[in-house]
């Protein structure tokens, strides 16, 4: 497999976004229409009460050349959750998929904690207007912490294969204080759940499906899966669990694994398929991959430096 980088395709600071969002276009996820591609992303406003960030979902519609912007969302795609709800302080990311006439949006909702910064869980919201707006099926999550997945359930990717709904997602294995001066950092791994309706999920309960390459303290995030030539390929991002924000040698890179049976995954990223480009927008970091097909081509959306503060880019698979 070989990816051809097509460069950065969207910069949020060049557009007027709803909810007073000015920076960040993180975790781009595509919904393909007949004559355009809608790309959802998470952008951020600043909470006036405490100067902390709030993540909101927005989208950009692009021509199928994936270069020209048609429009950005003019209004709120999905409001944040209510007081005390799992998604009160942000939705980041949202995975979208068509199901019949509806579009299902699987959200990762953020809520702030006291001893640690945050917890997350996965919610479901449904759109009946082709993805312009989404309504939650309830105030609570469809997938949350459980016996052996104690925290930070999020970052899901959902795909129906045969008549089984598959969800790949991440779960926290715990928080750790790596140094006395720094706040606690989190460690998370990729897991898997199945469902027959997309609402009631059965987890494999803490089975880490992707082996560590950086040791036990590797954090793995945002899995995305595609079938190419009878083989399932998963892309995700991974990093060290502390000193990863500004240290480019410890920050996110894109990982890869493949599977024939959706049970056993072989990790295959010793030799990265996609790497940083010195001097470019993705010189220090590669993260939040999303793989999709459009007009018989396979593309990978992803974020570069600073976790996508200045937008996202694209690569195309060359065969």
């Amino acid at each position: 497999m070989k990816w051809k980088k097509l460069g950065k395709i969207f910069d949020p600071t060049q557009h007027n976004l709803p909810n007073d969002c000015v920076q960040f276009a993180q975790s781009p996820q595509a919904l393909v229409f007949d004559d355009f591609v809608r790309i959802y992303f998470s952008t951020r406003s600043v909470d006036k009460r405490n100067r902390k960030y709030l993540s909101h979902i927005a989208f950009v519609d692009m021509q199928k050349n994936l270069r020209d912007v048609i429009r950005v969302s003019g209004k709120t795609v999905i409001p944040l959750g209510g007081l005390g709800c799992f998604d009160e302080h942000g939705i980041f990311p949202m995975n979208v998929m068509r199901h019949g006439d509806a579009v299902y949006g699987y959200t990762c909702g953020w809520n702030r904690r006291v001893s640690v910064s945050v917890d997350t869980a996965i919610g479901l919201a449904i759109s009946r207007d082709d993805g312009l707006t989404f309504q939650r099926i309830g105030d609570g999550p469809v997938l949350a912490a459980s016996l052996h997945e104690p925290c930070l359930v999020g970052d899901c990717f959902v795909k129906v294969i045969g008549d089984v709904w598959h969800m790949w997602y991440i779960f926290g294995t715990g928080w750790k204080r790596f140094s006395a001066e720094a706040p606690p950092d989190r460690i998370y791994k990729i897991g898997h759940a199945v469902s027959d309706d997309g609402i009631n999920w059965v987890k494999e309960e803490a089975r880490q499906i992707i082996a560590n390459r950086l040791g036990a303290n590797e954090s793995q995030a945002l899995p995305t899966v595609i079938e190419i030539d009878d083989r399932y390929h998963m892309f995700f991002c991974y990093r060290q669990s502390f000193d990863f924000r500004t240290n480019k040698d410890r920050g996110y890179r894109i990982g890869h694994a493949y599977s024939e049976d959706l049970v056993n995954w072989t990790r295959d990223d010793e030799d990265p398929l996609l790497d940083v480009t010195p001097g470019d927008w993705d010189s220090d970091m590669l993260c939040y991959p999303h793989v999709f097909e459009c007009d018989c081509r396979v593309y990978l959306l992803y974020n570069g430096n600073e976790f996508g503060r200045y937008g996202f880019g694209l690569a195309a698979l060359e065969r």
């Binding site: 007081l83 702030r112 904690r113 001893s115 917890d119 939650r136 949350a144 052996h148």
Partner: protein, 320 residues
């Protein structure tokens, strides 16, 4: 109407010495009967921290079976440790409900974490004991029952029961948070789930008890007891605001059911109310019914939701 004869307060946490984690509160009594004593599990607190915040632990007191007003022993340590950094039970394990399962004792407990926009969140964990309930090992470091679309937060007050080899968990789930004079106050309702193993649960996803005081009535401690062909539930309920005094505070309610799921509320039948004066004159809450040597007892909390301990009443007649 049932006729409960109040026997008075049985246990006062302030009288216990040498345990800095047990300074005040003895909340949500839950019993386990032994040959010559009754082990009553409860939840307690050390002194508040410098910010006035509490953590809560669970423990037990052994009462002499032939005279429940005599304390035989108080646990030397909490029965459960608090959870680790960022875990659901990092700041409290309260309340706890226990049940025998063959040689082991299972505890279902509510674990507390602290949040930024609201004071806390709660989910239900499970632990097992192989020494008759003296010490427990958590089944995992996450919850056994957690949030879902219709139960978004504050899953608390578990009461574990088993009827005809099916496990039942009655509990409460938060409905909304109300801002009252700048403070977020939770509204919660009584719910249930069933299970074949006590680990994997199917939620019924409905409010079991109709609200009576107001739409935002808060309901807690759904204690279910089977007797004479019916399921009897004693629970407590209060107004959603200004509930820390006599006026709007907790009272004990009652409902009955023939099938565990459909309940007929009839508080007039509960048969127990606040006293004119004394330890339970302002509020009564967290009822727990148990049978012992041919009598039916009700353990419950008095003023300040059990800050000064719990008491007992005995039924004159039968639950029917």
């Amino acid at each position: 109407m049932f006729k409960w004869n109040k026997l008075g307060k049985v246990f006062t946490p302030q009288e216990v010495e040498g345990r800095n984690w047990l300074k005040e509160f003895a909340q949500a009594p839950a019993t386990l009967v032994f040959d010559d004593f009754v082990r009553v599990f409860f939840s307690c607190r050390p002194s508040a921290d410098e910010n006035g915040q509490y953590v809560s632990y669970s423990a037990y007191v052994d009462l002499i079976r032939s005279n429940l007003f005599k304390v035989r022993h108080v646990s030397q340590q909490p029965i459960l440790s608090l959870g680790g950094l960022g875990e659901f039970d990092e700041f409290g394990t309260y309340p706890v409900s226990v049940i025998r399962n063959g040689e082991e004792v299972r505890a279902y407990y509510a674990g507390w974490t602290r949040c930024e926009s609201v004071p806390f969140n709660v989910a239900i964990g499970m632990a097992t004991s192989r020494d008759g309930g003296e010490t427990f090992t958590k089944l995992g470091n996450g919850p056994v029952l957690s949030y879902s679309p219709d139960e978004p937060f504050v899953l608390s007050g578990p009461k574990i029961r088993r009827f005809n080899d099916v496990w039942y968990l009655w509990y409460i789930a938060g409905r909304n948070w109300k801002m009252i004079e700048g403070r977020a106050e939770p509204v919660y309702k009584i719910r249930m789930a069933s299970s074949s193993d006590g680990i994997h649960w199917n939620k019924v996803n409905k409010d079991l008890i109709e609200s009576r005081l107001e739409e935002d009535e808060a309901q807690a401690s759904p204690d279910v007891f089977f007797a004479n062909g019916n399921y009897h539930m004693f629970f407590c309920y209060r107004y959603s605001s200004h509930y820390r005094g006599r006026e709007n505070g907790y009272r004990i309610g009652y409902a009955s059911s023939t099938n565990q799921v459909d309940w007929m509320r009839d508080d007039a039948k509960a048969g127990i109310d606040v006293s004119e004066e004394g330890w339970d004159a302002e509020m009564i809450s967290y009822p727990h019914v148990f049978e012992l040597d041919g009598k039916t007892y009700l353990a419950y909390l008095g003023n300040q939701v059990g800050r000064h301990g719990f008491g007992l009443a005995v039924l004159d007649g039968k639950l029917e």
